[in-house]
Symmetry: C2
Subunit: 356 residues, 2 copies
């Protein structure tokens, strides 16, 4: 059965402000030392398994030009534009009907466009294992990450009994982001994995599950599918997509369906959730600083400094995130990275849209 990939690239993340903006979200930024953007790395990573023509990108219409610029090899008809953001369930549904239209059925790798993976070969091996589980029956497979610390920023998945012939486990339940105490328990039991938001299934399987658990959305999708290639395609998409419920695939399908399997992965996954991730990803110098740009550091330790052409001089500081762009500079304590969104709230209140 043919392999296809759906890359979800509609996010408007605020956590990389001031580099990420409404007009340039994280998936289109380069945050690694190789200069490639997150979405370019995502496509590159999957190419050994999926042909370029079978890679689909679902994004917001505002970002179509960014996808075309950064991924000129992707066929234009594979760039699917959401008229509005409706979370992951409608996004995946839209991809599924396009793939169904082209191939009737296929294996579908569903991948976020803004995560990093360190060990690509191990990742590809996990995808292949997941494919086996997905095509053996009408199974929904999710990739879980074996936790190495009690992270409170991720959802967890409790694993049930192991399937007989492969490394997959039945999923017992999905749990929301835990408190530190609960996260420590999860880690100790060895029965919980991080929810990576990456999925493998047949197009027919996911559509069957959408029909069962999200019947309204299924009707919307069928109307969109019927219009593909017609003069009404855009009008129908706008109308039907906008009327869908905003819902995550986790909540809408995975937490309700049966036959959910999880494959534990240890391929160096990072969701790159904040500027702190850049400290993990990029090369650190002997003072513990991650430094890019035109920078002079004096007595500076464990800082993340992302500059540009302008000179940034730091003296006697530690544990700060400093990000300079043409029109805005952020200076943020590492342990306050979660409060960067308050800057954006402030800007919104003051109608200073030029900075958002």
């Amino acid at each position: 059965m043919r392999n296809t990939a759906l890359i979800m690239a509609g996010g408007r993340g605020e956590r990389f402000w001031p580099k990420s903006r409404r007009e340039l979200p994280k998936q289109f930024l380069s945050l690694t030392d190789d200069g490639k953007t997150m979405i370019q790395l995502t496509v590159e990573r999957i190419l050994p398994l999926v042909e370029m023509d079978d890679i689909y990108i679902v994004t917001n219409k505002d970002y179509k030009h960014l996808v075309r610029e950064q991924l000129p090899e992707i066929p234009e008809e594979n760039i699917l534009c959401e008229p509005v953001g409706r979370n992951t369930a409608p996004c995946i549904g839209l991809g599924a009907i396009h793939i169904m239209k082209k191939y009737n059925d296929a294996v579908m790798y569903v991948l976020p466009s803004d995560h990093l993976i360190k060990f690509n070969n191990m990742f590809l091996a996990s995808l292949k294992d997941a494919r086996e589980v997905a095509i053996q029956g009408d199974n929904l497979v999710t990739l879980g990450i074996t936790p190495d610390h009690p992270e409170t920023g991720y959802g967890y998945i409790k694993i049930g009994k192991s399937a007989a012939e492969n490394r997959a486990y039945l999923v017992e339940r999905f749990v929301e982001k835990p408190s530190l105490e609960v996260a420590k328990e999860y880690l100790a039991t060895e029965e919980y994995l991080w929810n990576s938001g990456m999925f493998v299934w047949k197009v027919s399987t996911i559509l069957m599950n959408i029909q069962k658990h999200m019947p309204n959305m299924y009707q919307n999708l069928m109307r969109i599918q019927a219009a593909i290639g017609t003069e009404e395609e855009e009008a129908v998409l706008n109308r039907e997509f906008s009327s869908m419920e905003s819902q995550s695939i986790d909540y809408g399908i995975m937490e309700k369906a049966g036959n959910i399997y999880i494959l534990p992965g240890t391929f160096g996954w990072d969701d790159v959730g904040s500027w702190l991730a850049v400290g993990r990803i990029k090369k650190t110098n002997e003072s513990g600083n991650v430094v890019n740009g035109n920078i002079i550091t004096i007595g500076t330790h464990n800082c993340i400094i992302q500059g540009d052409k302008k000179l940034i001089a730091t003296v006697g500081i530690e544990d700060l995130i400093i990000v300079d762009t043409d029109d805005a500079t952020l200076i943020c304590a590492k342990d306050s990275a979660g409060d960067i969104k308050k800057v954006l709230e402030n800007l919104k209140i003051c109608n200073r849209d030029e900075y958002i």
Copy 2:
């Protein structure tokens, strides 16, 4: 006897980098809330005592245009340009011969151009008292500041016995910047004042003392004086001034001469020695921040943030100095302000003169 003032404005201070540059030193910056530059405030302060035509500015030739721009009321012939910097003794000598040439003798208030004074009326009263002491005999008078904390950044002056008829004390000795321990002792004895670098004397008195204690420099000065108004004036100035020894008036004259009096002052003096001074001078908001420019602060305390047009957003930080200019941004811990000079050393080593 006529009152004249000599304002010393040749300094090339590095401690307000990146706002102060080789081409725009501290005395030409505005560091207060009223928008006036340090040298403008210095002139304004002395005007109740000295006529505008009797105010002399000694500066480096590179800064003449700044003096003319910022102080258009000062007669051009009163702007005296040092061909090279030679510390305060030659600077004061140059001013003295010009005033001598014009008035034969006069009272001369010698003032740095980059200090702040909070209580102008008390300051003027001190100058008047000092004038009395200066003209009673051939006395050299220095203004001392009554210390309110054991500052290690200033020189101290030990006072001797009080003069009979006024608030002046004979100077017992000048001492260099002390350690914290020694500064605490000085404070406890109540026999030491801070050396403010402000002086009052007759032109004839200081020239007599230069002749006695710095005879070579006196000869240089006499040759310069003879050439004033002639075609050779500039050539003679260049030659004679450059051949003078670089020397402070404290070391060259005050520590050697007799008849040195000191007047204790409590007029809210601040030498504005670093960015930390801006935290003392400017208005502080309810979070303890001194903020100017286009700034958003979230969870930010006791910071000095001097921005400009560009947005600066700070999150979860404290006790930092942040200064943004067109081409450079400084982020410095308050307790490391003394290390800003290391940034400049680094820039010099790397030949990055555009930032100096």
